[in-house]
C-alpha cells in the first residue's frame, strides 16, 4: 500500500517549519504565508480574524491540493502594519479571546452544575 501515513496530516516532517513567509512582490505590503500540516481549522479562523483588522485590505486562504495538508494565506495591508505583524496580532488576539472563553466556560459550567445538583 502506498497510502501516506495518517499522522502526516498533523506531524511536521524533519526540518519542516510550521509557517513560512514569502513576500508577494506583485503588490506592496503583501505576503503569502504557507502553513504546513494545517487545515481549515486554522486557515479560515485566521482569514476571518485578519479581515477584522482595519489595516488589512486583503486576506484569503486556499488549500492548493486536498491531498497535501497545507494552506496558503495571502495578506495585504495598507502599510500601517506589515502582513506579518497583522498575522501575529491576529494570533495573539485569538489566544486572548480563547482564554476569556475558557474562563467563562469554567464559570458557566460551575453554575450549571450547582443548578443541576440542587434541582
Amino acid at each position: 500500500m502506498n497510502a501516506p501515513d495518517r499522522f502526516e496530516l498533523f506531524l511536521l516532517a524533519d526540518g519542516e517549519a510550521k509557517v513560512t513567509m514569502e513576500p508577494d512582490t506583485r503588490q506592496p505590503n503583501a505576503a503569502i504565508f504557507t502553513f504546513n500540516k494545517e487545515d481549515h481549522t486554522l486557515g479560515n479562523l485566521l482569514r476571518a480574524t485578519l479581515l477584522q483588522n482595519e489595516h488589512v485590505i486583503f486576506s484569503a486562504y486556499k488549500t492548493p491540493h486536498p491531498l497535501f495538508p497545507k494552506f496558503e494565506l495571502r495578506i495585504q495591508t495598507d502599510g500601517e502594519t506589515s502582513p506579518k505583524e497583522a498575522l501575529l496580532s491576529a494570533c495573539q488576539g485569538l489566544i486572548g479571546d480563547l482564554q476569556m472563553l475558557s474562563q467563562k466556560l469554567t464559570r458557566e459550567w460551575e453554575l450549571n452544575k450547582i443548578a443541576r445538583d440542587t434541582s
Binding site: D5, R6, K18, M21, T41, A48, T49, Q99, S102, W109
Partner: protein, 332 residues
Amino acid sequence: MDDYDQLYGSDRGPQITIKEADNKHAQIVLSNCDLAFANSLRRIMLAEVPTVAIDTVEIEANTSVIPDEFLCHRLGMIPLDSTNIDDKLIYSRDCMCEMYCEKCSVILTLHARCTGESNVTVYARDLVVAEGAQLGSPVITDKEGQGAIICKLRKGQELKMKCIAKKGIAKEHAKWSPVSAMGFEYDPWNKLRHIDYWYEESAEAEWPKSKYADWEEPPVEGEPFNYDALPSRFYLDVESVGSLPPDEIMQQGIKYLQEKLASVIDTLGNKNEGGDGFGDGMRSPGQDYSMGGMGGGGGYETPYGAGGGQDARTPYAGGFGGTTPYGANGRW
C-alpha cells in the same frame, strides 16, 4: 491585551451560555463571535482533542467466529476513560521506549472462554486494566454495567489477548474522537438565507421549526432582507462518547486551538512584549515530558523486535504494517 484583567467577565470577547448539560452532553450557545471562530472550535473538538484508544493488539488465542482484524477494529472503537490524559500519558511516538511502556500506553487484557452449553457474550467490562487505574478503563454507562459487546463465544471458543491503548487524535483515526456528534447550528429562522429550503408549496409549512427557534426573534413580516447581516450566535451540541466529560472536551478544544495559534507565533520568531499572561497555557504538553523516557532505546529486547526492524526514531516505532508474532495485524 494589557487591560485583560478588566476584560475578564466583561461583555467583550466570545460569550458562552450553557443551555442544557449533563455528564454526557452539553448544549451551548456561543455568541459575540464570528462563524469562523465557532466552526474552528467545532472542528478542533471533533478531530484534535486527544484521548486513549486501543491501537495494537497481541492476540494469543482467537478461536471465535470473528477474524483477528475484525476483532482488533472493534476493540479500537471502545471508548476508554481519558480524563486528564495530558498529565498522565505521552504520545508513543514521543516516547523513548522501543515499543510501548507505561508512560505512553495503557495495557488492557482480555481473556474469555466459553465452557458451558450456552453462548457467552464478551463485553467491554471484560477488558482488565491494571488495578486502581482510571485512565484507559473501559467506559461503561449502561445500567447493566456491561459496556459495548465485543464478541460472542460458543462452547470451546476462547479469546486471549493483550490490548495496547495509546494516545492519539481523531485526525489520525476516528476512534480517538472524544465526541460521537457535534451539533452545530445558527440562524434558526434562516434570516440570513444561508439555506435555500426545498419546498412544494411553502417552506414555512413543510419544514419543521428548529429546536433553537425560540432562542431568537422570528422574522417580522415584510421586513427587508439585510444582506450585511452576519451570524453571531451559534448553537453547539457536544455529545461525548464517554471518554471525556463535555466540559473537558470544550476546555481541551480551546487549549489546543490556542496551542495551534501559539505555534504560529513561535515559528514566526515573535519576540513581542511579554505580559500577555498566556505564556504558560500554550506550551505543547508533549514537549514537557517527551525527553523523560527510559534513557535511550538501546539494548532493549522485545520479542517483537525481529519482525519490523524499524529504528526507534520513526513515529510509532514498530507500528505500521508490523505483524504480531501471532500473525494478526493489530492496528486499527
